[in-house]
């Protein structure tokens, strides 16, 4: 197999298995793919380390000891041994192990095969028919090489944009994928959901981008650009019935949850401290009141009911600060609130 084929196979395998697009890690994996051929002095690795190659080539056949599980194990021990003393090398140790393994494993598909189970002299091949195996420098190998380049570019691109499962989640557009992204980046970034679905009220089509506020059941509480809040889910109490949902990681934004205790004091005064510039504030919690003074809380059947109130209690769920201040600021209440503050550089 050509050296460039080894480079590509090992580099791609490293990127794929480690889910990385880091050039240093991929380069280590790719170069490790050339190492098994150190058993002959004419190979790139053999030319770089002629003493080692002359030792191997004078004693054993090509593709024997260095193309085996034993050699892979030795390289792994060496790599992880080094990483034990310097943990920053751990990723490079992974790359070395993966790259080395795929370096010799690719030779299984060549006519000569490899002594994979060395010291057993059995030569492992795939497939069994030698005419269907690769000849070094043959047209078939160049064809495979082109395919490998395409695969490598695709893998690097996929890993650069979040990894295979992330891209797959985008492809199938399922809520679990969005939940993954929200779990991964929700505390540090704004997560924008691209939603396709219908309104549960009148079954009119919904397609657009919403900001995810928080997880709600199996779905999400999302906010549209005009500030309206919906529950997007496949549950019956949702306002948007989801057909497809994908997520993009947006601008950096730090999410903090703060607790607020009210002891028969005005809600507006208590929450005023969270009215900060550039912060989106959503309030959740349950409060008790001595007779609700506010009459006629706004009720939009198309929106998620962020405020539910009875004569003696008020229940808030991801209620925007502005709405709470507008409607409940004069109410004296007792209870605990959770305040979700999303601080972004600009909204």
């Amino acid at each position: 197999m050509l050296g460039i084929s080894h480079l590509l196979v090992s580099g791609t395998a490293t990127s794929l298995l480690l889910g990385t697009a880091s050039p240093a890690v991929i380069a280590v994996g790719a170069i490790a793919g050339l190492l098994p051929d150190i058993d002959i002095s004419t190979s790139p690795a053999g030319r770089v380390l002629p003493w080692i190659s002359s030792f191997f080539e004078s004693r054993m056949p090509h593709r024997s000891c260095t193309h085996s599980l034993v050699a892979s194990g030795a390289i792994a021990v060496l790599g992880y041994g080094t990483a034990l003393f310097n943990p920053s090398f751990l990723n490079l140790a992974h790359a070395l192990s993966v790259g080395y393994f795929f370096g010799w494993f690719a030779d299984i598909f060549t006519r000569g095969g490899v002594e994979m189970f060395w010291p057993s002299p059995v030569r492992c091949v795939c497939p069994g028919n030698r005419n269907l195996r690769l000849r070094t420098g043959s047209n078939a190998e160049y064809f495979i090489l082109i395919l490998l380049i395409a695969i490598a570019l695709a893998v690097f691109n996929i890993n650069n944009s979040g990894g295979i499962l992330t891209q797959f989640n985008r492809l199938i557009a399922s809520p679990s994928g969005v939940q993954h992204i929200f779990n991964d980046s929700g505390s540090t970034h704004l997560i924008k959901a691209n939603i396709k679905g219908v309104r549960t009220g009148d079954r009119s089509k919904v397609a657009g981008q919403f900001l995810i506020i928080q997880v709600q059941g199996t779905g999400f509480l999302v906010q549209s650009d005009d500030g309206r809040i919906y529950k997007a889910s496949t549950e019956p109490d949702s306002q948007i019935f989801l057909e497809e949902i994908t997520a993009d990681v947006g601008k950096p934004a730090i999410t903090n949850i703060e607790a607020l205790t009210l002891e028969d004091e005005p809600i507006g005064q208590a929450i005023a401290q969270f009215d900060r510039t550039g912060a989106m504030v959503f309030i959740s919690g349950q409060l008790t009141v001595d007779g609700l003074e506010t009459a006629g809380l706004p009720r939009d059947p198309y929106q998620f009911p962020t405020i539910k109130a009875t004569d003696t209690s008020i229940t808030l769920e991801a209620a925007p600060l502005a709405i709470v201040q507008k409607n409940l600021s004069e109410e004296f209440a007792t209870g605990q609130l959770q305040v979700r503050v999303i601080n972004s550089s600009s909204q």
């Binding site: 058993d39 002959i40 002095s41 004419t42 053999g46 190659s53 002359s54 191997f56 080539e57 004078s58 004693r59 054993m60 056949p61 090509h62 593709r63 024997s64 299984i108 060549t110 006519r111 000569g112 095969g113 994979m116 002299p121 059995v122 030569r123 492992c124 091949v125 795939c126 497939p127 069994g128 028919n129 030698r130 005419n131 269907l132 195996r133 000849r135 070094t136 295979i164 499962l165 797959f168 989640n169 199938i172 399922s174 809520p175 679990s176 994928g177 993954h180």
Partner: protein
């Protein structure tokens, strides 16, 4: 150790004497360890004795040679089985020369027609092949004459490529063996029937790599070509422990043929092992199912299905033709 003992007797048991005892103990072990290692090396060291043979082959199978001659000298019969080119004929010639050197009568024959083989045996044993009237003996009479000769004399019958002999001839060999005639049969992949299953056998293992390398170096020297270690290393891939294939690889290099595959029997198709990797995707699917991770579930399922398809494809690939094309 004795010196340490004296030292302890004089100074008493103190930390210094304990240290001295430890050091002396270690020193006492070193020669034993070295001798053990060297004896191990000696046992592993291949026999370097060169048996002069007519084909000028070095005998790497000294153990098999000794065992075979010992078995024949004990009136036994033995079958040496091995793949083509594994060195059976070289071994047979070495046995013949060893026995002849010891003054024994040996008939060494190769497959031909039954009559020709019988005549050859009779000729080598110096058995008359004509009757008193000058007529050539029939095959049956020759068989009887040879059987009688072997009963009355200490002589050895060595038959190379015995797998090529017809069944009737092999049945006659079986009858001879029943009469106690010592014989050595050499065969490539013999069937598990008649004479082949009746007598003990030695199965020739592939030669070790150092022997193959030596054979290749000698073959290259005979053809007056200078091969670098890297070239020899690449050619050695094609030998697979078979001396004939080792020499053939050098021949192919000498002729400038571009060959990559080989004819040895060490190839092992690991397609099923590779397909085992598909199990990982099935496991992934179940993990996705169990944890409610829809993406993992679908991804694992699709990947497992793709692997299943590839496995069907690989299993349905045409097998290798047994003939040279």
């Amino acid at each position: 150790m004795l010196v340490t003992g004296v030292f302890i007797a004089i100074n008493g048991l103190n930390p210094l004497s304990l240290l001295a005892m430890g050091v002396s103990g270690a020193l006492a072990f070193v020669p034993k360890l070295i001798s053990k290692l060297s004896s191990k090396n000696e046992t592993q060291e291949p026999p370097t004795e060169i048996i002069p043979t007519s084909g000028e082959f070095k005998i790497y199978r000294q153990a098999e040679l000794n065992r075979t001659t010992a078995s024949l000298l004990a009136d036994g019969a033995i079958l040496i089985a091995g793949e083509d080119g594994s060195g059976k004929s070289v071994l047979a010639i070495a046995v013949v020369e060893k026995l002849q050197a010891d003054g024994f009568m040996v008939a060494f024959i190769e497959p031909a027609t039954p009559k020709q083989m019988l005549l050859e045996i009779a000729h080598q044993f110096e058995i008359p092949t004509e009757d008193l009237e000058g007529k050539s003996l029939t095959a049956d009479k020759l068989k009887r004459a040879i059987a009688t000769f072997l009963e009355e004399n200490t002589a050895f019958l060595i038959l190379d490529d015995a797998h090529c002999c017809d069944a009737k001839f092999r049945m006659w060999l079986k009858q001879l063996r029943r009469g106690g005639a010592p014989m050595l049969l050499l065969a490539t992949d013999p069937p598990r029937t008649d004479i082949f299953i009746n007598i003990p056998r030695i199965e020739l293992k592939p030669l070790p790599e150092y022997a193959i390398r030596e054979i290749m170096i000698i073959a290259a020297a005979e053809r007056a070509i200078a091969l670098k270690p890297s070239e020899l290393s690449k050619l050695q891939e094609r030998a697979g422990g078979n001396p004939m294939l080792a020499a053939r690889a050098v021949d192919e290099e000498y002729l400038g043929l571009d060959v990559e595959g080989a004819d040895h029997r060490r190839y092992f198709d690991i397609t099923p092992l590779i397909l085992l990797a598909g199990i990982a995707f099935v496991i992934m699917r179940f993990i996705g199912l169990g944890t409610g991770d829809q993406a993992l579930y679908i991804f694992g399922g699709i990947a497992a299905a793709v692997f299943l398809g590839i496995s069907r494809l690989l299993y349905n690939l045409p097998p290798e033709d047994r003939r040279i094309r």
